[in-house]
Symmetry: C2
Subunit: 429 residues, 2 copies
């Protein structure tokens, strides 16, 4: 061991922070062998100094202020595990960069909002920002995309990247329970963020997708232009109906470069039940990357939790210790392009569910509306009438969102469709 130890300052000692400390303490010899030098935690910082975190912190200098931690002379790498798009996390990251230090972070919100500025600042200083832990937990997806698939023009990135949403959706299907009930369950189990909209509104997963899109397409992170829709309106009826037709509903992120610009969506989609994405159960994450040379690569693993996230943090720390220095988003931040937002997503088949009045000719009227909108039907099923209306499920052939909206509006005028029709995109995976 001739190289000097790499000295870590850890800001944030929640589950993940404590997990990182545990690994550094228990796997020191293994990490030193892999890094070619020792890893050494020198200083730590968290909100509450006196909480028992199940790990011995007595050997580390304590700082109350993460910015002070980031500036310490005995810290080479700031490990930022506090979270939050702004506030102390951003201040500490900026202070670290300003002092020429490297940063390892699990903070998807901060990078989704400030990634460009922070990456430019880091690269101007010769620092690196690494964020494997920010996307899909322990799955080495940032590394795979940035380095492992660097020979490809990336065509599409898809992912189920919020374990809580996938837990809710699979639990609804497996137990036959409505959304509200499973949401409460998840809440009691501690699966939800303090602000649950971050999870069920698709925001957290959207942050992750925006970061991957930047790497994949060489564009500036543009989370603000992402089409975002959460799972709050997914009814158990749709989950059942989708299953009947051979599909599962997933909160699916899709990013692809189209002729019209960059398309980024995080929204509920139907995927074939027997596809790798369709088979994904519970809180597991999956990212699918399609490149022009490699074809389709699927990566799957735990998307959250102490061990998996700490594993990703250590991967970044090990890289820095080994001297691996790649720009934050794969190419110099100043070379990242401003992506034009595609505005409209490329055509796809859609799933439609309507409640049809029990009147002669009702189905014909619905079919006529679709035909007039230029939408052709792939499959249609009408179920037993209940309470005067019959559920009708339609799977369309490929159509545009605009044509679909025309049809959905048109249903109202038929006088035979009760309530609001449900429509969900079917993603071809």
């Amino acid at each position: 061991m001739t190289a000097a130890p790499l000295r870590l300052g850890i800001a944030g000692l929640g589950t993940v922070g404590a997990g990182v400390v545990k690994i550094v303490q228990s796997r020191g010899k293994l990490l030193s062998a892999r890094c070619g030098r020792d890893l050494q935690i020198t200083a730590i910082c968290a909100r509450d100094r006196h909480r028992d975190r199940g790990v011995d912190l007595s050997g580390y200098a304590w700082e109350d202020d993460p910015v002070a931690l980031a500036r310490r002379d005995d810290v080479d790498v700031l490990v930022e595990l506090m979270g939050g798009a702004d506030g102390p996390a951003k201040a500490a990251t900026e202070a670290a960069i300003d002092a020429g230090k490297d940063v390892v972070t699990a903070n998807k919100a901060m990078l989704a909002h400030h990634g460009q500025t922070l990456a430019e600042a880091a690269e101007a200083q010769g620092s690196v920002i690494r964020f494997e832990a920010a996307v899909a937990g322990g799955i080495p997806v940032v590394k795979s995309l940035t380095e492992g698939l660097a020979g490809n023009r990336i065509q599409r990135i898809m992912g189920v990247m919020n374990g809580t949403c996938n837990y809710i959706l699979t639990r609804m299907e497996n137990a036959g329970l409505p959304y509200a009930e499973v949401f409460d369950e998840a809440s009691k189990l501690g699966y939800l963020e303090a602000d649950p909209t971050l999870d069920v509104g698709g925001i957290d997963a959207g942050h992750k997708l925006a970061l991957l899109a930047s790497i994949g397409f060489g564009t500036r992170v543009c989370f603000d232009e992402m089409e975002l829709e959460g799972i709050e309106r997914i009814a158990i009826e749709d989950i059942r109906a989708a299953a009947d037709m051979g599909f599962r509903i997933k909160l699916l992120g899709v990013a692809q470069m189209t002729g019209r610009g960059l398309e980024q969506r995080m929204s509920p989609c139907l995927v074939p039940a027997n596809s790798p994405l369709g088979q994904l159960q519970a809180a597991t994450n999956m990212v699918v990357i399609e490149g022009d040379s490699v074809g389709q690569i699927v990566l799957r693993g735990a998307g959250a939790g102490e061990g998996p996230t700490a594993s990703a943090v250590l991967s970044d720390v090990t890289d820095i210790a080994r001297g691996i220095r790649v720009p934050t988003f794969g190419i110099p931040a100043t070379d990242l392009q401003h992506a034009t937002s595609a505005q409209v997503s490329i055509p796809a088949p859609y799933y439609i569910r309507i409640a049809l009045a029990d009147k002669p000719g009702a189905l014909a009227k619905v079919a006529a509306v679709l035909g007039e909108a230029g939408i052709s039907i792939n499959r249609m099923r009408q179920y037993d009438h209940a309470a005067g209306t019959a559920p009708v499920l339609i799977v369309t052939h490929k159509t545009t969102r605009a044509a679909l909206d025309v049809a959905l509006d048109g249903f109202g005028a038929t006088g035979v469709v009760t309530g609001d029709p449900v429509s969900i995109r079917i993603e071809q995976v």
Copy 2:
């Protein structure tokens, strides 16, 4: 672009070599952005100078001798795509290392047999050897294991890493055809190596597993001590019977560090049909890595072919261009441990198929033999008698291979078991 171009000498212009040339030619700008410098092919070498490879080679210096190519002053990186454990591939690799150049290779056989020597030589010279393309085609598994999961003590590595074998096994099941017939099909389709034993005998996949085991467990590559069994003896009856019981048969590699030493097996195994490994169809590859922090990571993609393999080669080239320099097997080669071979694999459930004579008390005798060997039965099925004997399928609880061998021997003495019993390990995935 201030850094000097990285100059490549490509030895071997088969499918993969030509694929690499195509990517460098067509994606030059993208690669330069990602590498922070230009990639430039300066010299090439292959057996037949005049074959049309569908790509313009006129701009590159030609060498007849790969060793001369490796030694050229205008070559920084030898891209070795000739194959073969010894001969020109090894000679050129040694020449490149000797001249202080880096090597990117897709040659699993060479590294499985000479990896230790070559890695030591490279590290003594300050050169790197990269081999992402040698294992599981375009799946970035070498990188994921070496770098992405560097914070983990690796517990188990499993993989379906020979596409031809998986094609044969899934085709047998889907078409209900016997091994010999599908083997001939695969041969006509050009799916088999010139020496098909490399594929169907598990040798090629075994080479790959040995390389991953070295990285995962910090041990010297020890292919010679791997337990190797091919798929030649897999009968369509076993594929059907396994399916009936909810399993699929895969040529599965398993490497794990046990209390008795390193266990490495490449052999047909039953895996649950609904597991990611069980669902793997056709020529697709899958690698499953289990680490103490990350849990289980699954990587899936095309394991061979021009695009995927060239993608992996370019990933290594890009890494070198970016200045990423990690020891061949993750830690310095001289620090890799001599692994003690476990000799016996850890206990597992087994699938057994026997042909039982149509005599009173026959099944009882079989059950008694198992009981005497200390093997308890999880499930047993006897099917309709045909031609005087009935197929009997048994799924045991966990047992040792030694106890199983006692039982298999014991069946002979019962006088009610016809022919040789079949036994296949059930891997718990």
